[in-house]
Amino acid sequence: MTNRTVLVLLDPATEIRTSALELFTIARGLGTVEAVALAGVGVEVLAQLEAYGVESVHQAEFSDAAGRVVTGDERHLPAVVAAALAAAVRRADADVVLLPSSFAAKEAAALTAHALGAGLIIDAAGVSEGDDGRIVGSKRVFAGSWDTSCEVTTDVAVLTVRANAVVPAPAAARVNTQTEPLPVEVPELGVTLASREVKARSGDRPPLEEAAIVVAGGRGTDGDFGPVTELADALGAAVGASRDAVFEGWWDTYVGQTGVTVAPRVYIGAGISGAPHHRGGMQASQHIVAVNSDPEAPIFEICDFAVIGELADVLPQAAEEIRRHKG
């Protein structure tokens, strides 16, 4: 392995997300790992970085063109995140930048690559070193039906990596993570950010995009998500929905091409027909399970296991059985 430096975006800096641990795990396979944080890193986060083999953290300190310190929500706008990443690449002479595949991170990745003249791969499911030492990203495309691999031909490679691409694993040995302030000048944005609200993550359920198990409800719930949440909670799963269910106001986040893309170990769809737009956001899941009263439901074409039946009967019974199994 050549002596590469791999930068990983750490946002938020005050709590560690599973997606960040996955990125560190991938990064260790490529070279020396360093993180870029948009704010001060807490003690607990630092302990995790040490366990995951992160050699140093570039802690961005933003100021505007006039030298005034910037600490507001603007720090999270993609153009500002990109300014920090590009500054860190230049300082560390880094070769690879890894980000999660959220919408905001994709934009930040694009702007970072633009500033550095670097090649960009969005939504990689794996990152490796090619025969000639270049970075290769593998992607699953067309609603999970094709696998592609793509080589980055520039010196610096920027990639966003989808959730659940690897199982996070700490490094063989702890390291002593160094924290270094990184001065970043906030670019002229031309936009005014009037407000920014982050939806509170419920402490009880894992976030949809990162969960190992997802239970999703559709129009077939007829508005009652009780059976869906009951099974999810028995499994420790996240809850999602189809777009139709969200448009009806029955749930707040949907899975699909225009919603959240998930690739968990298990996806369970209840009362969801399996429209192409929905499939596009879940077809890369490892195990697909469906519960649907229509024996002809299209979702059966892509699932591994299915129950033809009423979800209001099937889900609570499954939840009961799971709870019994877990003891």
């Binding site: 934009e107 090649g119 696998d147 592609t148 793509c150 609570p316 059985e321």
Partner: protein, 258 residues
């Protein structure tokens, strides 16, 4: 109000999509206007209607067989359709695509001011969701992306931006680049009057040199391989006769998924 809407010609997601020689396989009757660009067209038409005057120009970077996307845009009510095709743009990556779109917008600007460029939130084939912000950067205009709600007043565009678990209120003075989500509006359907009007409209075909782009922007990525995934084995189907829930639980337990 003069608005450019970028639209992409993509394989229909209801068809069997795939690759040939590491390029997206294009079969003429399976190509279509990227559905999410209908939201962009709708947003543009509504803004021009509200302003009482103006023009909506649909712009695509596509091979010459990409006209069906523009024809569909005509049927929805756009005034003009411009297609940029050139061998040097074949296989364009995100950056080359954004650069070509920006050059075409500048050419349209040389005819008269462009107040707004509106894009979809993603192209349903590439699914990068990065062209809008790159296009804004190329044009040196502010980017307001992933708008769920939008409004223009006194030359200022305001949006509610929703992404991941974040909601933001942002604004920027025109001219700007805007991307809209699939929840921003309900795209109109082609009606008889618009379909008739569309028949008289011609696609304007431009080449890279018309835009002052002479050399191919160097590609920064190269596709090494593309292969179909193995078919999933036939699903195990259980009809619920009172034990369906237990069967589901047993499937998960048996496969070590609990």
């Amino acid at each position: 109000m003069r608005i450019v809407v970028t639209v992409k010609y993509v394989p229909d997601i209801n068809t069997d999509r795939g690759f040939e020689d590491c390029r997206v396989r294009r079969t003429p009757d399976e190509g279509t206007l990227n559905e999410l660009d209908e939201n962009a067209i709708e947003a543009a038409l509504q803004l021009v209607e509200a302003a009482g005057e103006g023009e909506v120009v649909a712009l695509t970077v596509a091979p010459p067989d990409g006209d069906p996307a523009l024809r569909k845009a005509f049927q929805l009510g756009v005034d003009r359709g411009v297609r940029v095709s050139d061998d040097i743009l074949a296989g364009a990556d995100y950056f080359a695509t954004a650069a070509a779109l920006a050059a075409a917008v500048r050419k349209l600007e040389s005819e008269g001011p462009v107040d707004l460029v509106i894009t979809g939130m993603a192209a349903l084939d590439g699914l990068g969701s990065v062209v809008p912000t790159l296009l804004a950067t190329e044009l040196g205009r502010p980017a307001l992306t992933l708008a769920k709600k939008l409004g223009v007043s006194d030359g200022v565009l305001s949006v509610t931006r929703e992404h991941d678990d974040v909601t933001e209120e942002l604004s920027a003075p025109l001219p700007a680049v805007l991307s809209v989500t699939d929840t921003a509006n309900q795209p109109r359907l082609p009606n008889f009057k618009r379909i008739m009007a569309a028949r008289g409209k011609q696609v304007e075909a431009w080449t890279a040199s018309d835009l002052g782009l002479d050399a191919a922007p160097a590609a920064r990525t190269r596709t090494l391989s593309a292969g179909p995934r193995p078919e999933r084995p036939e699903a195990e189907l259980v009809t619920d006769k009172g034990e369906g829930g237990k069967a589901l639980a047993q499937y998960l337990i048996k496969n070590d998924l609990v």
